[in-house]
């Protein structure tokens, strides 16, 4: 029974499974390698994978289950809402949690959860970057903001609205659309009447690709920019030719990072497909967590937290450590543009 218990929590079934399953795979790959090399502190690492379906009420139970099972550290959760609901339980139990994907600024900035870390930059960073790029490079005067009414999307959109307004850009339209709707022609029609210079999207890529496609089919050429929910290869795959020219902010380009290349290859070897959403962030988080345990020499909460804040670790995202709030340093955002079917980082 002497193992390091590594929890992985997130949506592993249901409609959001595609955001949660890549993290499981990342953790599996890393742990397999670590265990093959003799484990950590002489112990094997044991994965405890628990589904929260991205629902806050389930996340509470998931967290309790992991805590009851004696988990040492947790990778997850995936959705901000579920993360928020679960954090209290981990905090009381003194367990470090690291999310690859929960981007609500509050989670770290509120200071309520010293046990929380993340390997993704929070939404405010992203929004500021979007504003900077839009005003300085694209020189937009008037924008429209759409979101999916969800926890993640609307949060992003609201931050964008705040920063764009501060920057003196007119926000001509701010509306939520229904996720999963079969058709967005009405909102696209409305967009085309508003004539914005840029459409900012807060939300995930499936809706984004539907909206972009419908814009282009209506012969609308307005630029479109999304957040990290859009910067996903599935977006290009799904939106196809309509993806061309779309901007998306996302974690800085790591495709030349040898660790990232290797991780991707491991995934292809093991599962025969390209990795999915948040894979790199999850891979890095797993490395960071395991490294912290190793460096701390135990699974003691304070020791692990201390290492996380101080020790630089080499990951697919680059060399990272965590600032006083728990946000990973050195993993800023960049703006990407789809060119010839690829996200190309814009300098």
């Amino acid at each position: 029974a002497d193992t390091i218990k590594f929890g992985v929590a997130g949506a592993h079934s249901g409609d959001l499974a595609s955001y949660g399953l890549p993290s499981v795979k990342a953790a599996e790959l890393v742990v397999k390698k670590v265990n093959a090399n003799g484990g950590i502190l002489g112990k094997q690492v044991e994965l405890l994978v628990e589904d929260d379906v991205c629902k806050p009420e389930v996340a509470g139970n998931t967290a309790t289950k992991l805590v009851s099972d004696g988990v040492n550290v947790v990778l997850g959760h995936i959705c901000s809402g579920a993360t928020k609901a679960a954090l209290g339980f981990y905090k009381d139990a003194g367990i470090v949690v690291m999310s690859p994907s929960a981007t609500t600024p509050d989670l770290t900035l509120s200071g309520d959860y010293p046990n929380f870390f993340r390997t993704i930059a929070h939404d405010a960073v992203q929004a500021q970057l979007q504003v900077k790029y839009a005003t300085q490079v694209l020189k937009v005067k008037k924008i429209a903001i759409l979101h999916d009414k969800g926890d993640y999307g609307k949060g992003q959109a609201e931050l964008a609205q705040k920063y764009f307004t501060e920057a003196g850009v007119e926000v001509a339209l701010f509306e939520g659309v229904t996720p999963g709707a079969m058709d967005y022609s009405a909102i696209v029609t409305k967009l085309s009447r508003t004539k914005p210079d840029l459409v900012i999207w807060g939300g995930y890529h499936p809706e984004a690709s539907k909206i972009v496609a419908q814009m282009r089919k209506k012969r609308m050429k307005t630029a479109f920019m999304g957040g990290d929910g859009v910067k996903d290869n599935t977006f290009i795959k799904v939106a196809g030719k309509y993806a061309e020219g779309v901007y998306a902010t996302g974690p800085m380009d790591i495709s030349s990072n040898p660790l990232a290349i290797q991780a991707k290859k491991e995934h292809q070897d093991a599962y025969g497909s390209d990795p999915g959403a948040f894979f790199d962030a999850a891979y890095s988080a797993t490395l960071a967590l395991l490294n912290a345990i190793e460096k701390a020499g135990s699974t003691d909460y304070d020791a692990i937290v201390k290492v996380l804040h101080t020790d630089l670790v080499d990951t697919p995202l680059g060399k990272i450590k965590f600032d006083e709030h728990g946000d990973a340093t050195g993993i800023g955002f960049s703006v990407y543009k789809v060119e010839n079917g690829k996200f190309v980082e814009q300098k």
Binding site: S13, G14, D15, A17, S18, L21, K149, E175, G176, V177, T178, G180, A181, M182, D183, S185, A186, I187, V188, T189, K190, R193, H205, P206, S209, K210, A213, K217, K218, R219, T234, K237, V238, A239, G240, Y242, G276
Partner: protein
């Protein structure tokens, strides 16, 4: 200019309505015959889309010409959706024919969950790109900003399907048998109607309609995943009820009303409360016409 905007919203609502209608038609047929809210109908539509995608990808890779691919994919989708619909009825609904109606509803919910997760496990949870099966017609290019050629095809298909189904139900022998079966199964049997077969036929026809819908809609929005049927199913169900559940033209009209409501509300007010408004329209209409727009009012004599 503003008329142009109105027209765009009008046509957009019409397209959205047609999309709902293609699913609502099957819903309403199944409801008509066994008074079951077939929660899993949306999943049949999803399976149609998946089958279409799989077959078309395989054939494309095998080097078949586009037209052939489209035809083969459509046939496969229709055949498989029908087969799933047929099997589903035999497994999950037929044993429950004399059970309380709510039990059948729960069975349908279970079936819906099963089919979703079956596709999730056997295929993927990811969104998959769906090829655009309908090309942009050149002659239509001047009006494409109003309504695109694929949307035009969807509209036309909805119309044709509705007509065919209406003719089927109103004028053919099997249609008469369907109507009789839906009203009194024992009496229908006493008049020489094979009730089991009629119910199966209804599921097959309803599922085939859903498959056509699945293909067209998937090709219109360009993506599919295992979960696409659920929301579509709910919306189509609302549309079918709005129009008067059990009525074929009602399902189409209800879908249009729903489509327009959503479109105009988004266009002139705000899409934030689009669905809220759609449901309010539903409530208001049902308050004034408790059996839906074209529904039959209760004619049970006291």
């Amino acid at each position: 200019m503003d008329f142009d905007y109105f027209m765009q919203l009008f046509l957009g609502g019409l397209t959205r309505g047609s999309i709902y209608a293609l699913i609502a038609l099957g819903y309403t047929m199944v409801y008509g015959i066994i008074q079951l809210i077939n929660f899993a109908h949306g999943e049949i539509y999803m399976i149609g889309a998946f089958t279409g995608l799989i077959v078309s990808s395989v054939l494309t890779m095998a080097g078949m010409p586009t037209l052939g691919v489209v035809i083969m994919a459509a046939m496969a989708a229709v055949i498989y959706s029908s087969a799933y619909g047929y099997t589903m009825e035999k497994i999950a609904y037929k044993p429950l024919r004399n059970a309380p109606r709510l039990s059948a509803l729960i069975s349908a919910i279970g079936m819906s969950l099963f089919l979703q997760n079956y596709v999730l496990l056997a295929q993927t949870s990811d969104f998959l790109p769906f090829p655009s099966l309908i090309p942009d017609f050149d002659f239509w290019e001047p009006y494409a900003h109003l309504i695109s050629s694929p949307e035009l095809v969807i509209l036309a298909t909805t119309f044709v399907v509705m007509m065919l189904l209406t003719v089927l139900i109103k004028f053919t022998r099997i249609g008469k048998a369907m109507r009789a079966t839906s009203q009194d199964k024992i009496m229908a049997a006493l008049l020489g109607i094979n009730v089991d077969r009629i119910i199966s036929v209804t599921f097959v026809v309803g599922s085939a309609t859903a498959a056509i819908g699945g293909l067209l809609i998937a090709s219109h929005i360009g993506q599919i995943n295992f979960y696409m049927g659920f929301i579509a199913g709910i919306k189509a169900f609302v549309a079918a009820v709005l129009g008067g559940i059990g009525s074929i033209p009602g399902a189409v009209l209800g879908s249009f009303v729903l489509g327009w409501t959503e479109s105009f509300f988004t266009g002139y007010i705000s899409s934030d409360y689009e669905d809220v408004f759609a449901f309010i329209i539903l409530v208001v209409i049902l308050i004034f016409r408790p059996s839906g727009i074209l529904g039959k009012s209760e004619t049970q004599k006291v």
